[in-house]
Point group: C2
Chain length 196, copies 2
DNA sequence: CGACTGACAGATATTGAAATCTGTCAGTCG
DNA sequence: CGACTGACAGATTTCAATATCTGTCAGTCG
């Protein structure tokens, strides 16, 4: 509760804003709330973030980047079988998104606000993930286990085809019983489609 | 404008309700509007449909069934190559949905209201389409051109994997320039995954 | 008798006035 | 000087009063 009396930094604002968003949700959280939690006036917050939208984006970007970072480990395991890595990557993506939606509903709602605003942060996140996928596909092509004339296009198709298991607009379905079987069926289908 | 003075039937109510929904949209259209357009009291409408939701569902069901019916022609062309039929079916589905969203925005919005209500009409529509797909897959398996241990599961996976091109939650993207290339890439991927 | 009406109760939507919030900036303070 | 404050204008949200709508049903009419 008692705010540290250190100098105000962008990092500290992000930290506190994330907590405020988690508590109040994107609909109720105000810049004044954030300032109060920091023990400063709201004018000080505007010194570090030009608008409320920019603050919301920065918090969500950090939150999304934590997912990207954890997946990049799998994508970069150069030694392992590309097909196994691809399956693990999709499984990890699905698991991560499902947890974000289930365990952190307010930040997930904030993420959906960004989608509604067509924020560049969302595009960047998708681009990040697609680049990771492209790496795995390319690796598979080089080893002769995958067939793809244009790995970036193929990666995008893989991402699109699995949207049901990572796109926020399907979040409601991720708790449904049959969803894991559906996931397996789609992954099986696209992996088969990728094999050389 | 001048309402026919025939007896009031469910069919006539549906006809007029569709027109009222098209004009006012699901947010503004009221049962009173429908009754006025029919030249009767709103009590008479309730004689044929128990609730406003039931009326909305019936109109949307008719509207969705027109799509299903046009696709079932392709699914049932027993003579043709299953792969070509599958590609044509997906193309026709994408085209139909895109036109519904673009040319009939108010009825499309009504459809999205039903989705929000978890209406059985939507489930039935998806089940209809999946059954058509299952038929094509099964046909391909029998001819030895497709590989599938469980055609119904595979059909569902095909439907899920192509969601970006028929699920209403993506309607905004259907006017974007790159969408046709994305569609081709996904269809290519899943068709390859289906081949024997 | 059976299709239809219209008044009605409770639920929902609309409206406009008051409260709060966003973003700015002149001024304070160390 | 530069980080911070707090009063301010305009935009947005809230809230309560008001109007409209949904769904029912006793009663009318052919």
């Amino acid at each position: 509760m008692a705010p540290t009396s250190e100098t105000l930094t962008a990092a500290r604002i992000l930290e506190v804003t994330e907590e405020v968003l988690r508590r109040h949700g994107p609909a109720k959280a105000t810049v004044v709330d954030v300032a109060r939690a920091l023990g400063v006036s709201h004018g000080s917050v505007y010194r570090h973030f030009r608008t409320k939208a920019a603050l919301r984006e920065a918090v969500t970007e950090r939150w999304l980047d934590r997912t990207s970072a954890s997946l990049s480990g799998i994508a970069a395991e150069g030694g392992r079988d590309p097909e196994a890595r691809l399956r693990d990557w999709f499984t990890a993506l699905f698991t991560a998104k499902r947890h974000k939606a289930g365990d952190d509903p307010e930040l997930f709602a904030t993420y959906m606000v960004l989608i509604g605003e067509n924020s560049a942060v969302v595009d960047r996140h998708i681009a990040d993930l697609t680049i990771q996928l492209t790496g795995i596909v390319q690796d598979g092509v080089e080893r002769g286990v995958f067939a793809s004339a244009a790995p970036a296009t193929t990666a995008r198709a893989l991402f699109d085809a699995t949207g049901r298991f990572h796109d926020p607009c399907y979040a409601r379905d991720w708790e449904q019983p049959g969803i894991d079987a559906e996931f397996e069926a789609v992954v099986e289908l696209v992996v088969r489609g990728l094999r050389a």
